[in-house]
């Protein structure tokens, strides 16, 4: 679901925004490397397609129907860079033009819906392919797992964002259980649809499916510079928050126009995980989370800068 304005506080939304900008930049660069002049036509077309695919109702029995998020499917058939780019474009179009998802939550939505699903989906299918080979049957099962995990991890990402910057004080435990269990069911549907579509594509046009192709891997050092740049940007942003002295927190609170007074303890929950009373640790966790995401991205980025042989 696209998160509206007001649910996640400003610092976390802004961090997510930075991460999203970095990932769109990096994925555009990577996709450009192997598509060159074709990038605009292919990325534009596939983004439009994914947008349309998300509207399709897939009946999953008992009168209910599910929808495809598409993050895992996108990276499986387009590759990680193009896949993440296309789904990000879809989210941006939905927010800016169809008012679906808050504008201040755009970073969060891009992060959850395209980046997390894309990265997780890619990790799963890539590892699955390495372990279980690239026969159709194994790829199809792998795509189911990729779809499932991508949705579940997307909800976990939301819970993490909530923990770090949720504007309500519902217990973290309850939020976690509610989000993850409901998204597990959604994930099963997503995995099923992803696997179904992939099976048909592999039958008819396997040459179009990225994961089914075998391409050489090339490491590009310029990408490291790029991703490190954004890593440092995120850290610079988070550094004032990471100041452990009360003075530091006070200045930061004022900067963001929060009422810093005794009774408004709930505000500081914007910076802390409710069950952890030490706010310093939770801020550090926020920073580490950002670094973790970027590190995963960095690793994958090195592996995904490919050239068509």
């Amino acid at each position: 679901m696209h998160v509206p304005d007001g649910f996640i506080n400003a610092p976390v939304s802004a961090t997510a925004g930075l991460l999203s900008i970095g990932s769109i930049w990096a994925s555009t660069k990577a996709a450009n490397r192997f598509l060159a002049d074709k990038l605009i036509a292919i990325a534009g077309m596939m983004s439009a397609l994914i947008f349309a695919l998300q509207m399709i109702n897939f009946p999953i029995g008992a009168g209910t129907s599910g929808h495809l998020l598409g993050g895992a499917l996108a990276v499986i058939i387009l590759g990680p860079s193009l896949g993440i780019l296309c789904v990000s474009i879809v989210v941006i179009i939905q927010a800016l033009i169809f008012a679906d998802g808050g504008l201040s939550a755009l970073g969060i939505n891009i992060l959850n819906i395209s980046i997390v699903t894309g990265l997780v989906g890619w990790c799963v299918i890539d590892l699955w392919k390495k372990f279980f080979g690239d026969r159709s049957s194994s790829l199809i099962i792998g795509s189911f797992i990729a779809g499932l995990f991508s949705v579940v991890m997307s909800s976990v990402a939301f819970v993490a964002e909530y923990a770090l910057g949720g504007t309500v004080s519902v217990e973290l435990g309850s939020v976690f259980i509610a989000m993850v269990t409901s998204h597990f069911l959604i994930g099963v549907g997503e995995g099923f649809i992803t696997a179904l579509i992939l099976s048909l594509l592999l039958k008819v046009r396997p040459d179009m499916v990225f994961i089914a192709k075998n391409e050489r891997v090339e490491k590009k050092s310029t990408s490291i510079v790029g991703v490190l740049l954004f890593l440092s940007c995120s850290l610079i942003f988070l550094a004032p928050l990471a100041s452990s002295s009360p003075d530091g927190l006070e200045t930061v609170a004022e900067e963001f126009n929060f009422d810093y007074s005794d009774k408004t303890v709930t505000f500081l929950q914007g910076y802390s995980i409710p069950s952890i009373s030490n706010s310093f640790i939770s801020i550090v966790i926020s920073g580490l989370l950002g670094i973790l995401v970027l590190t995963i991205f960095l690793n994958l980025y090195l592996n995904i800068a490919r050239k068509e042989s």
């Binding site: 400003a10 009946p59 009774k263």
Partner: protein, 251 residues
């Protein structure tokens, strides 16, 4: 997830229709960010910002119904907000009736979220009510977003309607063959349609590329610009909002 809607018709009666898209986008950004950085516990500032947002929205939309129809995406979140006084256990407890309690902070949080999410959606609806989708993209380009990114957005928008009509045609032809899409196995048929669309999408992308190079495309993008007006009202709203934020910082 986003429902079966193509961007609704523009509100041709709004004065903002003639206004530079880049200015509208910046205004929305300033308002949205101010909304994000402020809270109901600072009632003066928050309400001033809300008033600016309401001005922007009312000048843009043709009717309240127009706005309400497009707010269905946040309904689950609104419902969740109404639960908050009951489940957000913090602050003083207020006993409503016998043992049913609500929590004061929960009330605050509920109003906070309701106001913010509704204001946010309204702003986005207001923007798309006065700016065609391509003009929004042109506005982004004017704001110095990378050309290639703007081009991809522009192509995606161009072909979304092609796919939506194609999808509708497929749905129609399936229905006219008695397809009812109730059971799980019907998903297979739908997936067939989906994968056919995907394949045609790849091929169409290649064909569009062929068209592009046939007309000399070599990677350089030329963007055209139109003549627009500036809006005094938007300037006023933005400056007011910024002042509210800055003065609030010092008070």
């Amino acid at each position: 997830m986003s429902g079966d809607h193509i961007q609704s018709h523009l509100n041709t009666e709004s004065p903002l229709i003639e206004i530079e898209p880049a200015q509208k986008i910046i205004s929305v950004l300033i308002l949205a960010l101010s909304l994000a950085f402020n809270d109901i516990r600072n009632p003066l500032k928050f309400n001033l910002i809300l008033i600016c947002i309401i001005c922007f929205v009312f000048v843009s939309i043709p009717s309240i119904n127009y706005l309400l129809r497009r707010m269905y995406v946040i309904i689950p979140f609104i419902l969740f907000a109404f639960l908050l006084p009951f489940i957000s256990k913090s602050g003083t407890t207020i006993y409503l009736y016998k043992d049913i309690a609500i929590y004061q902070n929960g009330l605050f949080e509920m109003s906070n979220i309701l106001l913010k999410s509704i204001a946010g959606v309204s702003m986005a609806v207001a923007l798309s009510a006065t700016t065609s989708q391509f003009d929004i993209v042109r506005g982004l380009e004017k704001l110095k977003l990378p050309k290639i990114f703007v081009a991809i957005l522009s192509f995606a928008l161009r072909y979304i309607s092609v796919y939506i009509s194609e999808f509708k045609r497929v749905k129609l032809s399936m229905k006219s063959r008695g397809f009812n899409s109730k059971s799980l196995t019907d998903s297979v048929a739908i997936a067939y349609a989906g994968s056919a669309m995907l394949i045609r999408g790849f091929e169409r992308g290649e064909k569009v590329y062929s068209s592009m190079i046939s007309r000399g495309f070599d990677g350089n993008l030329f963007i055209t610009s139109k003549k627009w007006n500036q809006s005094k009202l938007l300037y006023f709203l933005c400056i007011t909002t910024l002042l509210v934020n800055i003065l609030g910082y010092f008070s």
